[in-house]
């Protein structure tokens, strides 16, 4: 029986739970921080010793925590790339620019439990010798920024932030920076540019990898809100204990934002990989199924930039059989476990874990036109294929939906999308091209029908005119 497993949002929805520090402290708050700061250097062989920082980093590595922002990159690995020998200060940035359409998980954490994020940030900063950290929050969350600023003030008063935190000799300050609502500011290097006060143009990688040349050309770590909250729980539970949650290689819990035409849209925290996509949509503990008399048409499994899954699609995936050997099995799209690797094998991605469900009442071309209009509007305009291409795609879809489409538009869209992906500076190119590619490939008949209907409608008056002229 698939059920929610709450770890990060365990206490947030309890009745009477408030986002202030007294409530957080009475629920066992900042205990993990005390535990982390009290870690003693551990002796290993050859007379060397491991610093507490290294021990925490190792715990995160063993936990197998993967970034919850979108790419699913290992958090421990990201921390290990940081250039610690340069002598420059290291910065930590919390990416609270939750701009992917369909995602609303970080908002829950910030609004209901901001101290959890701050505790996670202090531990992460301690583990990486960071003395200055930023929270980049999107402009559309004024309430979130207010709550975070209040929480930071409270934490400073209690001595969890500032100089010499809890007598450990570790200094840290956290600042909240409000963005102005641009989608591209959620991109790692775009965010860094924006934080520096420039226009959010993503940087060219290489050479500007944030782990080496990030904020103010210093090594920088950028982590998602949920990832940083998970660090707090890893320190509390221990890395190996955390790794037991979920499935191997896809450990821990994730907050899924379920939206679209389901009975119970909302956020659900699950163990990664223990619940399938179909259960998330149809089970009574989660989405509760579609409205009466409707059937499933398509699902976007990971925010609007992920490739769409058509209802009834089959995938071959490797699953262990009775003898423990890997064997290719045919899996229906609804039986895909909701984790990073399975969705990757199905040719899409779990992204920011935002599931958008569409039933048979939707017009797929309208959906894509809407998604594409968003990307055309949000393209930062730095590099040419994305700046031009996203607008062309949007224009083509606009004329399809407004009754001026052409028969060859489906092919035209595929042509543009294939020439955007992989040729841009940042991943925005893929984000705008993948939905177009997958929608057009999987629902080609609908796109062609739209174009053909228009041609037929245009053809009719001409025929009549010709007929009347002949008379």
């Amino acid at each position: 029986m698939p059920e929610e497993f709450r770890l990060i949002l365990k206490k947030a929805d309890e009745p009477g739970y408030t986002p202030d520090i007294d409530c957080y402290l009475s629920h066992g708050g900042y205990e993990s921080l005390k535990k982390a700061l009290a870690i003693q250097p551990k002796e290993i062989e050859d007379g060397k010793s491991k610093t507490p920082q290294e021990q925490i980093r190792e715990e995160v590595m063993t936990s197998g925590l993967r970034g919850r922002g979108g790419a699913g990159f290992s958090c421990g690995l990201k921390w290990s790339f940081v250039d610690r020998r340069s002598g420059k200060p290291i910065y930590l940035i919390c990416n609270a620019d939750e701009s992917e359409p369909g995602t609303f998980k970080d908002r829950q954490i910030i609004h209901k439990d901001p101290h959890q994020l701050i505790e996670g940030m202090i531990i992460s900063a301690f583990a990486n010798d960071v003395n200055l950290a930023y929270i980049y929050i999107r402009g559309e969350f004024p309430e979130g920024a207010r709550l975070l600023n209040k929480a930071l003030k409270e934490a400073r008063e209690k001595g969890f932030l500032g100089k010499n935190i809890l007598g450990s000799g570790f200094d840290l300050d956290i600042h909240v920076h409000r963005g102005a609502g641009a989608y591209i500011c959620g991109e790692e290097t775009g965010l860094i540019e924006s934080l520096e006060g420039k226009r959010a143009y993503p940087r060219i990688k290489p050479p500007f990898f944030p782990a080496v040349l990030g904020l103010y050309m210093c090594p920088t770590i950028v982590n998602n809100v949920e990832t940083l909250c998970a660090v707090r729980h890893i320190v509390e539970m221990g890395g190996s204990e955390y790794a037991k949650l979920g499935t191997p290689r896809n450990t821990g819990t994730r907050i899924v934002s379920l939206s679209g035409q389901v009975k119970k849209p909302g956020y659900y925290e699950i163990e990664v990989g223990k619940v399938t996509l179909g259960e998330l949509i149809f089970h009574e503990n989660f989405g509760g199924g579609l409205q009466e008399g409707r059937s499933l048409k398509a699902v976007i499994p990971g925010g609007s930039s992920a490739k769409v899954l058509k209802a009834g699609e089959k995938f071959t995936m490797k699953r262990p059989n009775e003898d423990g050997e890997m064997e290719p099995v045919e899996v229906d799209m609804l039986d895909i476990p909701y984790d990073f690797d399975s969705l990757m094998a199905a040719g899409t991605m779990s992204g920011s874990s935002a599931i958008i469900v569409m039933d048979d009442s939707v017009d797929i071309v309208e959906v894509l036109a809407n998604v594409s209009a968003f990307y055309a509007h949000e393209s930062c305009g730095q590099c040419t294929p994305c700046r031009e291409g996203s607008l062309w795609m949007s224009k083509a879809l606009n004329r399809l939906t407004s009754g001026q489409g052409r028969k060859e538009d489906a092919e035209y869209l595929t042509h543009i999308a294939t020439n955007i992906q992989g040729r841009t500076i940042c991943a925005f190119g893929e984000a705008s091209a993948w939905p177009v590619l997958s929608f057009v490939n999987k629902f080609k008949d609908e796109f062609e029908a739209k174009g053909a209907a228009v041609a037929a409608a245009q053809g009719e008056p001409n025929k009549e005119g010709a007929a009347s002229a002949a008379k």
Partner: protein, 133 residues
Amino acid sequence: MATETTKAETKPVETVTVKVDGVTVEVPKTTPDWQGNPVPTTILQACKQVGKEIPHYCYHPKLPVSGNCRMCLVEIGMPAMGRDRKPILNEDGTPKIQKGVLPYDPSLPRGAIACQPRWRPTWRSTRNPRTRR
């Protein structure tokens, strides 16, 4: 356009052995910029030194690398191969990547806007897509 970095040699002038379009050449590891300071050689500069001109817009020797026009994209390593184990080329025999960058594709609007047969913007297609809904 296969460009491959293989190995770096030591003093006096550090050179890198690269393969451009199947021809192995040696290029210096650093190139003086317009002020004479040595900066790492880019693929574009390396190809220019061996006589292969890569088309470019936004590159200028007196400006920092901007890399946003994407016109100078090249394939690094093995080019995409077809079933017959030969590189996939455009219809006119040029490498695929050469016409792959959208705005320079003459079959599309603005790629070569004058060449477009009867391409007229409709009133809807010129509007800001966001204002539609």
